[in-house]
Amino acid sequence: MRLSEHRYRTVASVGGPLLFVEGVVNCRMGEMVRIIYPDGTAVAGEVLKISGQTVLIQVFGETAGIDLGAEVIFSDAVRRAPLSRSMVGRVFNGSFEPIDGLPMFIPEQWGGVNGLPINPTARACPEEFIETGFTAIDTLNTLVKGQKLPIFSCAGLPSREVAAGILRNARLAGGGEFVVVFVALGLTHHDYSFYMDALQEMHTGFVAFVNRADEPVVERLLAPRFGLACAEYLAFSCGMDVLVVVTDITNYCDALREVSTAREELPGRRGYPGYMYSDLASLYERAGRIQGTAGSVTMLPVVTMPEDDITHPIPDLTGYITEGQIVLSRELHQRGVFPPVDVLPSLSRLMQRGIGPGHTRDDHRRIADALYRHYAKGRYVRGLEAVVGREGMVEADRVMLDFADAFEAEVIGQGEARRGIGASLDAGLALLKRFSLEPP
């Protein structure tokens, strides 16, 4: 503990969101500071790096209007998140300040922003089925409680409609509903209001952290951490089932790159910093369940793949950390299929445990495998059709073509309506029967 407040007027340089202060004694890594501008405005900042008496500070907020005479006040404390049940129903900005016109709540406790890693021996295996209402997910890429399953989308595809559909329709195995933590990163006002409408329909409530496209980039790095601190509190301290929707991770990574470049760090692939994997993991890995605790954190990040490229560093690193992915397809969207989920590259790694007897239905695995196998065959044959033409194909291959078309139109394509898991499986089974492809 310091006995007096440390104030400095020794700013040596400012550039972008970064500030160098000199002659600082005894400061801490990650220490919170307040910066007072010449005109009296105060913004928050955080210590990023200490080298002798020179300190690098990251400023959360606008640095325009700052000069070298600005005052920097060190707090001797690292950033903490205020936590309380009364967060539910509120909307905050990326610095955890209310933007819904209501006063700040009174925290029940303060928690670390970055969270602590869950001890792997304390984790409970995710195996409780979540019904999203979409056949493409429930039947073929099943989501379970405590999983992190990103939606890989492309520019112009209805990822927000898919995400909103899941928010609206997701039910736990017992019929319970989720509390939603919604984190908007660099969202346009248009997208933001779409999501807010969807959230208002939630019965169980939501907490929103909103950083819009024109708001400080540095807050984009902070907002998901606040969101997850809040989710962990609601889940593991209050026993709630929390669904965290983060959109869009691509904006988050771009913010990370922007700040990294400002820090003059060595760039990695496509200019993204080399530590992006660890950084993304520090977000995604906070999903899970803990033995002996009621709540859960399930994560549904949305990633817009630049250039529709799944090997781009952002979807690539995401895929290496998350437990599968739901991939949206431009081709299906153009054909009017909703949700336009391409099931071939999609995957749920935790599906095996969440389906079958006691979870969904005994025949789930068999139906899913048969649908997948025949559809994959159909898609392969479609490639041949382009070369030899439908006429040049054997009858069996033509059947597979028709199967693939019908599968996309009837099983994947379901429109806005919600389908229960029973109805989803029946739809798949009916299609297999019609083509005499029943599973053994």
């Binding site: 602590l116 001890n119 405590g146």
Partner: protein, 542 residues
């Protein structure tokens, strides 16, 4: 050896401290975070901290421990789960709850647990350095307790003992303990290395038959995400024919580790009938645990594995994935502001990796026993692109390359090992072993199987143009046969009864497929049409 912190950047701490040596372990800050000296420059020591540095302050103390980063070796390692610095996660959880917080003074081995010491020597005996003075049984394993230095024994205990007290004393009163410490970055000694020749049966047909592994060999399998690396690692961990498995979750998913632990607990070792956990040691540093500890985790694991090898056991080290280790190395290197090599990786990536691979091998131990350490590492190349530095560095040193193919995985062909691109440098030696011990036709069948798959590759291109109907009968028969090979032989369900396939059954399966092919082909030669030849095939199998 006391000093003060002068600078902090991510996990790298600069301190003004005298009397420390390179690679010494130091305790950093009031919290006593574990760190390692990575560079000395004048009075400054650059320290790599293995824990989160958030909240660490300039001016806080840095204390040298006088030694390097070590692991503790002895009875009680088996079925424990450690983090990258060998902290026992179960006991950490009992002490500080479900989230990992900094905590000290939890020894890696339970010092309160009781063991039975069976002495080989008695008081008054002269012993040389490394000589066995007694043994302790840990389940199926026998730990040899050796004398660290030559001398005359003053006292030797027998029966119940704990790790906290000596099991014997020299005449001068110095104690000999049942546990020992070993620096993680120094390979443990052995008498000599042996050429690896004995096969390591994994129970995976495609591996055992086409790309066999040996005891003491090394293998990598690179593959993009979703190609089934983790499932394959875990399946091998469950079924491979090894005495002990050390599994390293290096920067992987926490949920998967939880799943793995539960499976190990419930599944039985098919050879002994005991829980798989009793032959497994898990070292885990999930992707959100501190990055420097992730770098250390593979060394912690390999040192533990070497210790069991030195007891004359066949040890299998599985790491998932070595790319995460490479990335940790890159992060650390970049926070040290070193000059980067390819794609930002430090230039010493390949030499460090090669040195790590060299810790595998079959050896004659100091006690004259034969032990082996086999490594199977998964690689996660960014974007599934194998030209990246970590995959390429691995390829230069490894003996078996199993390429995981995204196209195979998408068509749910698991394990998605590409049979055209993968290779095993051990195949020649091991084939002889299988031919002599399992099936006389092993080598011949292997050759034929490769040929058929190779011919199919060529035919497939033709078939794509002219359609399957346009092929000649002989070629269609070949395509049908290779389809069976792919679906029934190379594919293997990791969840069902087929998860493990003994070499005898592997040989029988391949034999059956080839025999049917031969019969139908003979039919074709006699002038039968393909359909007739196939019918005759069915008739003859009935």
């Amino acid at each position: 050896m006391d000093g003060r912190i002068t600078g902090i950047s991510g996990p790298t701490v600069t301190a003004k401290v005298g009397g420390v040596k390179l690679c010494d372990m130091v305790l950093v800050g009031h919290a006593g975070l574990v760190g390692e000296v990575v560079r000395l420059a004048g009075e400054q020591a650059i320290v790599q901290v293995y824990e989160n540095t958030l909240g660490l302050g300039v001016g806080e103390p840095v204390v040298g421990t006088g030694g390097q980063l070590t692991v503790t070796l002895g009875p009680g390692l088996v079925s424990t789960m450690y983090d990258g610095l060998q902290r026992p996660l179960e006991r950490v959880r009992a002490a500080v709850g479900p989230f990992i917080r900094p905590c000290r003074d939890i020894p890696p081995l339970d010092t309160a647990a009781e063991w039975r010491f069976e002495p080989d020597r008695k008081a008054g005996d002269e012993v040389g350095a490394g000589e066995v003075i007694g043994r302790i049984r840990e389940g199926a394993f026998v730990h040899l307790i050796t004398a660290p230095v030559p001398g005359r024994l003053g006292e030797v205990r027998s029966g119940r003992c704990t790790l906290a007290e000596p099991v014997a004393r020299y005449a001068d009163g110095c104690g000999i303990f049942a546990l020992q410490k070993w620096p993680v970055r120094r390979p443990r000694p052995f008498r000599r290395k042996l050429p690896p020749v004995l096969p390591l049966v994994t129970g995976q047909r495609v591996i055992d038959f086409l790309f066999p592994l040996v005891r003491g060999g090394t293998a990598i399998f690179p593959g993009g995400f979703g190609t089934g690396k983790t499932i394959l690692e875990q399946t091998i961990a469950k079924f491979a024919d090894a005495d002990l498995v050390v599994y390293v979750g290096c920067g992987e998913r926490g949920n998967e580790m939880a799943e793995l632990l539960e499976e190990f607990r419930t599944l039985k070792d098919q050879r002994t009938g005991a829980s798989l956990l009793f032959r497994t040691i898990v070292v885990v540093n999930t992707s959100n645990m501190p990055v420097a500890a992730r770098e250390a985790s593979i060394y912690t694991a390999v040192t533990i594995a070497e210790y069991y090898r030195d007891l004359g056991l066949h040890v299998l080290l599985l790491a998932d994935s070595i790319s995460r280790w490479g990335e940790a190395l890159r992060e650390i290197s970049s926070s040290l502001e070193e000059m980067p090599g390819e794609e930002g990786y430090p230039t010493y990536l390949s030499s460090r990796l090669a040195a790590f691979f060299e810790r595998a091998g079959a050896v004659e131990t100091l006690n004259g026993a034969i032990g082996s350490l086999t490594m199977i590492l998964s690689v996660s190349p960014p974007g599934g692109d194998f030209s990246e530095p970590v995959t390429q560095a691995c390829l230069r040193t490894t003996g078996v390359f199993l390429m995981l193919d995204a196209a195979l995985a998408h068509s749910r062909h698991y394990p998605a090992i590409n049979w055209a691109q993968s290779y095993s440098l051990y195949a020649a030696g091991v084939t002889g072993h299988f031919t002599a011990r399992v099936a006389p036709a092993w080598g011949e069948m292997q050759q034929r199987c490769r040929e058929l798959l190779q011919r199919e590759e060529t035919l497939r291109e033709v078939a794509e143009i002219v359609g399957a109907e346009g092929l000649q009968d002989g070629d269609r028969l070949l395509m049908m046969t290779t389809e069976r090979i792919r679906n029934e032989f190379l594919c293997q369900n990791a969840y069902g009864d087929d998860a493990f396939c003994a070499p005898e059954r592997t040989a029988a399966k391949m034999g059956a497929i080839l025999a049917l092919y031969d019969r139908a082909e003979a039919g074709l030669k006699q002038g039968l049409s393909l359909d007739e030849a196939l019918v005759s095939r069915v008739a003859s199998t009935l």
